[in-house]
């Protein structure tokens, strides 16, 4: 009856101001837009707009043979592409029923854990930047560069790696790669320890992050969270532990969990995961040394794309090369869901196959997409500066968010 007496949001007398945070804003580290209603510095409500870099990967995947989908997965979470690559290879191998040799599994563990470290370096480093400390970021960043050099030795590229093939790796790790991994294992822990010394009990950092954006386990599960941010709320769900793939059951590692799911807890969980990853890489190197050093793929010529020199010099390789490239290989009509523990959470591949050259349907369960939907609801009542570091600690990667 007296609605006209209320001040609406659009009314010039309204005290609320609208802020477009993004789509390009230096503090959001990616293409994210949030239209926020602010009362002074506090956020009253927010609406997220996503899809700015949507590239229709699921549609493209329906038109590509299996081995050409690997480069698409690179561009999901581009901070840890190798995990996506391996997840995709393992999905196809699971569908085809290919058993991997142990050495390949361990090589994959090394690559995936390197990628996890690289991803967490960026996330935790940037969290430092957003709270006003640039030093830690730059100090850690040189080790991400080192990890990228390891990728270069393994596969030749750095960011969008396209590591490996369906059925194994395209080439064996060379000695330089092993030397660089060893160097990482000896020289990175002191750096990480210093990084922790710089932040973990730093008054400014703790004041900015502790009890900021706390999330209960119940809420996190209801929002289908996974990965480090779910573990920061106290839920010990890690795909590597719960449904081991790539021989993770052979490894001795712990799943770090937090207590109240705030930004500080997420930071600590990621730091601890880096330590666990280093442990796993060390164990993997030991295990690899006991295996036949010449094995780097499974003996499945009908699915494994042969090296070019063999294609030119060996008739069987040429035939298989032709059949794989032209999609003349029989694949089962079935559906498979395979999940790996991505750096941000459960990265799932739902593949429906009709026996053809390309998937009938491929769906990526992208952790960033699912984790990010809580961002606007949880920002309510927060001050703007806290919302910024909250976004950093969710580690949402635009490529994975928008597919």
């Amino acid at each position: 009856m007296h609605n006209h007496l209320l001040i609406t949001d659009n009314d010039p007398q309204s005290e609320l101001s609208t802020l477009n945070l993004g789509p390009t804003h230096p503090a959001t580290h990616g293409v994210f837009q949030n239209v926020l209603q602010l009362d002074g510095e506090r956020i009253v409500s927010g609406v997220s707009t996503i899809g700015y870099i949507h590239r229709a990967f699921e549609k493209i995947a329906e038109h590509r043979p299996f081995y050409q989908i690997t480069p698409l997965t690179d561009r999901l979470n581009y901070c840890s592409s190798p995990i996506n690559n391996m997840g995709w290879h393992m999905t196809v191998e699971k569908m085809l029923g290919i058993e991997m040799p142990k050495r390949v599994d361990y090589m994959r563990v090394i690559v995936m854990e390197l990628a996890r470290i690289a991803d967490h370096i960026v996330c935790n480093g940037v969290l430092g930047v957003d709270t006003g400390a640039f030093t830690g970021f730059l100090y850690m960043m040189q080790w991400r560069e080192h990890i990228y050099e390891i990728y270069e030795e393994i596969c030749g590229s750095r960011l969008t790696t396209n590591i490996g093939r369906i059925g194994g790796f395209e080439r064996n790790f060379n000695q330089i790669a092993f030397d660089k991994i060893r160097k990482l294992l000896t020289d990175f822990p002191p750096v990480l320890r210093e990084f922790e010394a710089l932040f973990n009990r730093n008054r400014i950092f703790v004041d900015r992050t502790k009890d900021v954006a706390p999330v209960t386990a119940e809420t996190a599960l209801s929002y289908s969270w996974s990965g480090p941010i779910l573990r920061a709320t106290g839920v010990d769900y890690d795909v590597r532990a719960q449904e081991p793939y790539s021989s993770y059951q052979d490894f001795d590692f712990e799943v770090p969990v937090g207590t109240n799911g705030d930004v500080y807890n997420r930071f600590l969980v990621r730091n601890e995961e880096m330590w666990q990853s280093l442990r796993m890489i060390e164990q993997a190197l030991d295990k690899i040394s006991k295996e036949d050093p010449n094995i780097f793929h499974a003996p499945v010529p009908e699915f494994y794309l042969p090296p070019k020199e063999e294609v030119y010099n060996n008739m069987e390789a040429l035939i298989y090369h032709f059949k794989i490239v032209m999609g003349e290989i029989d694949t089962p009509t079935t559906e498979v869901y395979h999940a790996v523990e991505g750096a941000n959470g459960e990265l799932g591949f739902y593949l429906v196959n009709d026996g053809g050259r390309s998937p009938y349907r491929l769906h990526f369960r992208r952790p960033s997409f699912i984790n990010y939907q809580m961002y606007a609801p949880m920002s309510r009542g927060m001050v703007l500066s806290d919302a910024i570091i909250n976004m950093s600690s969710l580690n949402v990667i635009a490529g994975e968010l928008d597919a």
Partner: protein
């Protein structure tokens, strides 16, 4: 909270819902059941509250143009305590692509359903905010449907006459 096998879980579901659900096999150890959209919410809430499937992993859809009910909506649900997943499918007719929303059960269903709507045009009844999410708002088609081409079909520069692709 012991582990539970696919057979036990299926038996529990059959005891509860009878012929309202049917098994579609368990490819690669993942139990797959089909239900009707009328029973969907009771099946999902039974799974969530009584079988501890608390983690909604994913919602997506699939389009089989040649089937009588061409749209399948697929739910992947995970019981973290029992360490088991289940896949629930519901098939919908082309002229009535409506299905009840699962947002009341899981807040996380919100964007997953929006994404499914955006790409397949599946309408989730009762959804609080069913808008497009990744595509532009004024798009008129649902691009993941099979009839929607990946590229402009009139392009000839990419035609491969040799292999016919």
């Amino acid at each position: 909270m012991g582990k539970i096998s696919n057979e036990e879980l299926l038996q529990n579901l059959v005891d509860k819902f009878g012929d309202k659900i049917s098994q579609l096999g368990d490819p690669y150890g993942l139990l797959t059941i089909e239900t009707t959209r009328e029973e969907l919410i009771s099946v999902l809430s039974y799974l969530k509250t009584e079988q501890q499937f608390i983690h909604l992993t994913d919602i997506t859809a699939i389009h089989y143009p040649e089937l009588a009910k061409p749209f399948g909506v697929i739910y992947h649900i995970h019981s973290l305590a029992k360490g088991i997943r289940i896949r629930v499918k519901v098939f919908l007719a082309a002229d009535d692509v409506h299905i009840p929303t699962a947002v009341e059960l899981w807040d996380g269903a919100n964007w997953m359903e929006r994404e499914t709507y955006d790409f397949f045009g599946v309408i989730f009844d009762g959804h609080p905010d069913l808008r497009r999410i990744l595509n532009v708002d004024d798009m008129t088609v649902f691009p993941m449907r099979r009839e929607f081409p990946l590229e402009d079909p009139n392009r000839i520069d990419k035609k491969d006459y040799f292999f016919g692709r």
